[in-house]
């Protein structure tokens, strides 16, 4: 197929070959890890800043404003300027905080997106960690973040932070179930947990279309639960500014605050990326039945572009939620999860299993 020419495997393979022929295998591994680590760092920093900019522009569009316009053309350097400001700000540690936990919390929060991002295939051959429990790994690792939020809330020795941290704990622990269950629904359809294989299986059609009704339900639940898990509006209770000023990160300043901020945006990317991979075919181009000409045109768009197009679509959707809906109350959020999403999800798994058994999917 035409889009195979955008495969990154030859490039990565040649780098690997070049290294292994010249240096020892151990050194090769170390160098490769370093390259990958630096690339991810760069990606997260740049993409995080870009998402902050995108959010400000999207929110401005919804609110009939222009958003940042002064720093650089259309304000594109605004977030970089803000980031530099955050870097240079004084790190204020309040007197009565639990120093160790207080300083540890932002690092735990920022580690999570670094771990989860490793299994995400950006394009054919552009994935650093591809193993047979990829989906499981993402759900497992993403739940580490809540520890950071809880620690931040607890260690800050501030009542607003504590309420925020506890809210966030209750919320993330609950919504993880829905995220996990909707992923399991799709794993049943795919028959594998390996991320690259899940994408490969969608060559003939995205799972959202292949699995029709149960996939659609799972997708809806995944987007809702994903929004809740990233603590974004209308589920942004943990930092509900009209109730808790800034919630769990009230006492953080400078770069530590930036860590929370960045982690939120990268988590947003990861949720969107997972939705893209599992439901919308990852980097697979959009094909329509047997329209050969249309499909060929689609094939000429590289996988990397497809991947990011889909991701941005979902990111835009989630931003749309935030800037339209009012915030839910804590008990309503838990009711939504335990009384509605979870039962629907369990039923949906059953439906999907039946469908797969009877071969009712396309």
């Amino acid at each position: 197929m035409a889009f195979e020419k955008y495969d990154f495997t030859p490039i990565t393979q040649s780098i690997h070959q070049g290294l292994i022929e010249n240096v020892s295998p151990l050194l090769t591994t170390i160098i490769e890890w370093t390259i990958i680590g630096v690339l991810y760092l760069l990606f997260i920093a740049v993409f995080g800043l870009f998402l902050v900019y995108a959010e400000r522009k999207v929110c401005a569009a919804f609110q009939q404003r222009l958003g940042p316009m002064r720093v650089g053309p259309w304000g594109i350097i605004q977030t970089i300027a803000d980031f530099i400001k955050l870097l240079m700000k004084e790190l204020i540690t309040p007197k009565s905080v639990d120093k160790f936990l207080y300083n540890l919390a932002p690092f735990i929060v920022i580690i999570v997106p670094f771990l989860t991002i490793s299994v995400i295939p950006f394009a054919p051959g552009l994935q650093s960690l591809d193993f047979d429990i990829g989906v499981f790994f993402v759900t497992a690792v993403s739940s580490v973040g809540v520890i950071g939020v809880l620690l931040a809330g607890w260690a800050s020795n501030n009542k607003y932070s504590l309420i925020g941290g506890m809210r966030s704990g209750a919320q993330i622990v609950s919504y993880e179930l829905s995220v996990g269950m909707s992923l399991i629904t799709m794993v049943i359809l795919a028959g594998t947990m390996q991320v690259s294989e899940i994408v490969e299986l969608q060559r003939g059609g995205w799972f959202l279309f292949k699995g029709h009704l149960p996939a659609l339900i799972a997708f809806t639940i995944f987007v809702i639960a994903g929004t809740a898990e990233t603590n974004r509006g209308p589920f942004d209770l943990a930092e509900a500014e009209s109730e808790l000023t800034a919630g769990f990160h009230t006492e953080y300043s400078g770069i530590k605050f930036a860590f929370f901020f960045l982690a939120e945006y990268i988590n947003l990317f990861i949720v969107s990326a997972m939705a893209t991979i599992v439901f919308l075919g990852g980097w697979m181009p959009f094909h329509f039945g047997d329209w050969a000409a249309f499909n060929n045109v689609m094939d000429f768009i590289p996988g990397l572009v497809w991947f990011f197009l889909k991701v941005f679509g979902i990111i835009f959707l989630i931003m749309w939620f935030k800037w339209t809906f009012p915030r839910l109350r804590i008990d309503q959020i838990l009711t939504l999860e335990w009384k509605y999403l979870l039962p629907i999800n369990l039923f949906n798994i059953l439906l999907m299993a039946t469908m797969v058994l009877l071969g009712w999917h396309w």
Binding site: C59, F62, Q63, Q64, R65, K159, Y160, I163, M166, R167, G233, P234, D236, L237, A240, E241, S242, E243, L244, T245, W323, T324, F325, P326, R327, L328, R329, I330, D331, Q332
Partner: protein, 377 residues
Amino acid sequence: MAAIIEKIITTDEIKTDEYLVNIGPQHPSTHGVLRLLTKLEGEIVHNVEPHIGYIHSGIEKMTEALSYPQIVHLTDRMDYLSAHMNNEAVCLCVENALQVEVPERVKYIRTIFDELQRLASHQLWWCASGMDLGALTAFFYGLRDREDILDIFEETCGARLTLNYSVPGGVMFDIHPNFQKNVKAFITKFRKKLPEYDKLLTDNIIFQNRTKGIGILSKEDAIAYGVTGPSGRASGFSCDVRKHHPYSAYPYIKFDEKMGTEGDSFTRWKLRMDEMWESMNIIEQLIDNIPEGDFAVKMKGVIKLPEGEFYQRVETARGEFGVYIVSDGKKNPYRVKFRSPGFSNLFTINHIAKGWKIADLVAIMATFDLVIPDIDR
């Protein structure tokens, strides 16, 4: 303050699982500098104690050293969103005391300004409450439309917020030649915009869940606490001063006193939305019929009220605003007392927020439409 906290902590009043949170004076949802000493158990509010005095400016005491026209200029610093109604209350009080009959034109202009001010105030309330409930976009929509009203004010009297347009005996200047045209244009435009407000928030399921059945104020309590304005009417307490004690041009026009029955946050919300429609109806009845004539009667250079006590009430955007002047015949009042709606409305909060969650406390505060200098004057 420290003594109060000390007292609560040392007595048995506080259990081990309750904790105190100071909401305010610097807090995003208090719209100013209100301080709520809140006793919480987890998320549940057990007790709310409003502490005022943070921005107390002694307006009532200051007025004793000022002449009557000067007092007018102080009143719009209290409830700055109902500036014109406050000004008007003092003017009416002085005019009644002197038994001055103002021209019809003045009555019409004042009433139109009242209703425009009410619209502007409700718009700001709408957008700020939306923000309290977490819908940030609402904030910009409300401010966008309020801008049109402020432009109309600016054109006629030069001020946008603290109008100072009413003076004893009339208004300061005649209306701008474009006034009628612009007001009509605004109403045509806003009649299209107002349904958008409902679409964005009122019909939203999350919003309804957040407000329906929350913070119920019964009619008896509303009367007992003296809750007036939209908040009181939402509980079924008919308290519209415009209807019961009409002043200015209100006797000449037909309008409904919007009433609610439930007394929950949603009814209070819906009632203010309805009031906006009603305000537009009132303006439409008046705007084409402004009589010709003078915009003020000639008053004496130094206004001296006869000895005695005078009271005048008006309906501001928040409820009943009263001016009570005790005069000893000099050019300054002997004593002035303002009856501000926000003060009575605020102190119901402990009664109705008890047992609800923090988020509901914020929603209740939002639907009571608090303006802090009105409470703490």
